[in-house]
């Protein structure tokens, strides 16, 4: 009896959903980014091939600059003739919104009408893209070569590497947010953006000093574990590079936060991987002239080669 009621409710819900779906009279206007140079349009009905492959029927521009039209290089229609992939000469900026105007859509020989597609990534996927990008694809240590001093300095033991990784990630996230707030609420309104280097380095060192003092009073145990790394963080270039990159790309608060998270976690991963190898290196027979830093550099080079493999990665 109970299952019967459940099934009938389910059927009712499905019928309701179907009824509430829009009729296909005006075609479904949905588009998405494909690779970095192409946009995919879903028409929801088969379209005529001669119409679909004519470049003059599509007008594409970025929503912020409607005057600059994007030239379409090639058009591909899939087998059921419902999806069209437009490929452009220039790579698209996937964090912004694009508008595709379609003229005189023709289906089965007759004109159905014109329409407008908006192609945009959802905020979540943009942010996840930034995090994954900073963590793996453009790992700050292995492909941007930042923070190498600390990277070679504290990667001798796994334990210190983990401590440094955690401390660094936390400080990185907080200082990225703080520098973003200072930059967009103080420096930009006052037209002082040329002072950003001085302001950012000052902010980071004051913040680190403050954390050091507060942690020493509030949680001496944690301070004992992480305190030594705090001082080192100021000399790490990643902590300064992230706010500078954010300022240059005019990133919003969430983008700044994601870049901070990605950079911090990416650095922690790199540090941990390196520490694992260097612990093993201690018991290996390394040629005498290579002992110490030279062999560490070669290992880092091998890691960098491995991280090149992430370069084609695009999940979101």
């Amino acid at each position: 009896m109970k299952t019967l009621r459940l099934v009938s409710t389910a059927i009712a819900i499905v019928i309701l959903l179907l009824a509430s779906m829009p009729a296909f009279a005006d075609f479904a206007l949905k588009g998405s980014f494909e690779k970095d140079k192409s946009i995919k349009l879903f028409f929801g009905m088969p379209v005529d091939e001669t119409w679909a492959t004519n470049k003059a029927n599509y007008t594409v521009y970025e929503k912020t600059d409607p005057d600059i039209l994007m030239p379409v290089e090639s058009i591909a229609l899939d087998a059921p003739r419902t999806t069209v992939t437009l490929t452009f000469k220039e790579p698209l900026n996937q964090t912004s919104e694009y508008v595709v105007d379609v003229k005189d859509l023709t289906s089965a020989g007759k004109v159905v009408g014109s329409g407008t597609f908006t192609v945009k990534k959802s905020q979540v996927s943009v942010l996840l893209g930034i995090i994954i990008g900073a963590m793996l694809i453009n790992n700050f240590v292995f492909t941007k070569y930042l923070g190498l001093c600390i990277f070679f300095g504290v990667s001798q033991k796994k334990e210190t590497a983990i401590g440094m990784g955690i401390t660094f990630t936390l400080v990185m996230i907080l200082s990225a947010i703080m520098c973003w707030a200072l930059y967009s609420f103080v420096l930009l309104p006052l037209n002082l953006s040329f002072l950003k280097i001085i302001v950012f380095i000052g902010t980071v060192s004051i913040f680190v000093q403050a954390v050091d003092t507060i942690l020493r009073k509030i949680n001496p145990y944690l301070f004992k574990r992480l305190g030594v790394y705090l001082v080192l963080i100021v000399t790490n270039c990643i902590i300064l590079a992230v706010p500078l990159l954010n300022a240059d790309s005019a990133a919003g608060p969430f983008e700044s936060l994601s870049l901070g998270v990605g950079a911090g976690v990416g650095f922690a991963i790199a540090l941990f991987l390196m520490a694992c190898v260097r612990e093993k290196l201690e018991v290996c027979r390394v040629p005498a002239t290579f002992v110490g830093l030279p062999i560490a550099f070669i290992v880092a080079g091998l890691f960098a080669l491995a991280f090149l493999g992430f370069s084609g990665l695009s999940i979101f």
Partner: protein, 206 residues
């Protein structure tokens, strides 16, 4: 030898910032895909090092030792801001490639360590030569790595086609920089071992 010349020589080879002291490694891997980039960043570092050494040497009696580190950082940041405004005018094309690292000179350990170890204790003239020597040593290191990587990776030298083919593409990829520095460091260790009979311990951690 004259002490000033001695100071310059010291920065160039015996205490070379990159290969001996192992300080400021980030730019030495990052911008050395060509000689031109290395030269430009090296000149920027010479400028910042010389001017901040001189500034600190002049004001060393006025800076309270308890707040010396923030004071040094601000002095360096000042001169970095100056060079960051000069470079894009002098050479816009190269600046585009090294822009981030010019700004990051603030965080280069070599500069602040020279201020702490030398300029805060010595008068103006030796500080000038020490800063100049360290800067030149850094410039030398960047150009050497840049030359090796550009020649083996792209077959060119300072933009001119020398070899006509690309022997080792990996050298201008991210990984190449690490390999080149590792091998140069090992090579310098080997030379020192042949000359003095003992292996020098590699420099400071950062």
């Amino acid at each position: 030898m004259n002490r000033n010349l001695q100071l310059i020589w010291n920065g160039l080879i015996p205490e070379n910032p990159i290969f001996r002291l192992a300080l400021s490694l980030c730019p030495s891997v990052a911008v050395t895909t060509s000689v031109k980039n290395g030269l430009m960043l090296g000149l920027a570092v010479v400028f910042v090092q010389v001017f901040s050494s001189c500034t600190v040497a002049l004001f060393r009696s006025y800076i309270n030792p308890r707040i010396r580190i923030p004071a040094y950082v601000l002095i360096i940041a000042l001169w970095v801001s100056v060079i960051d405004m000069i470079l894009p005018v002098v050479s816009p094309a190269v600046y585009k490639e090294v822009a981030l690292f010019v700004k990051l000179i603030v965080a280069f350990a070599i500069i602040i360590s020279r201020l702490e170890l030398f300029a805060s204790k010595e008068p103006f003239v030796p500080s000038f030569f020490d800063g100049f020597g360290m800067g030149i040593g850094f410039l030398f290191g960047l150009c050497l790595i840049g030359a090796i990587r550009e020649l083996s990776g792209a077959g060119t030298l300072y933009g001119f086609d020398v070899l006509g083919f690309r022997p080792l593409l990996v050298m201008i990829l991210p990984a190449g920089g690490f390999f080149v520095i590792g091998f140069i460091m090992a090579g310098m260790n080997y030379i020192e071992y042949k000359l003095t009979g003992k292996i020098p311990s590699a420099g400071g951690a950062h």
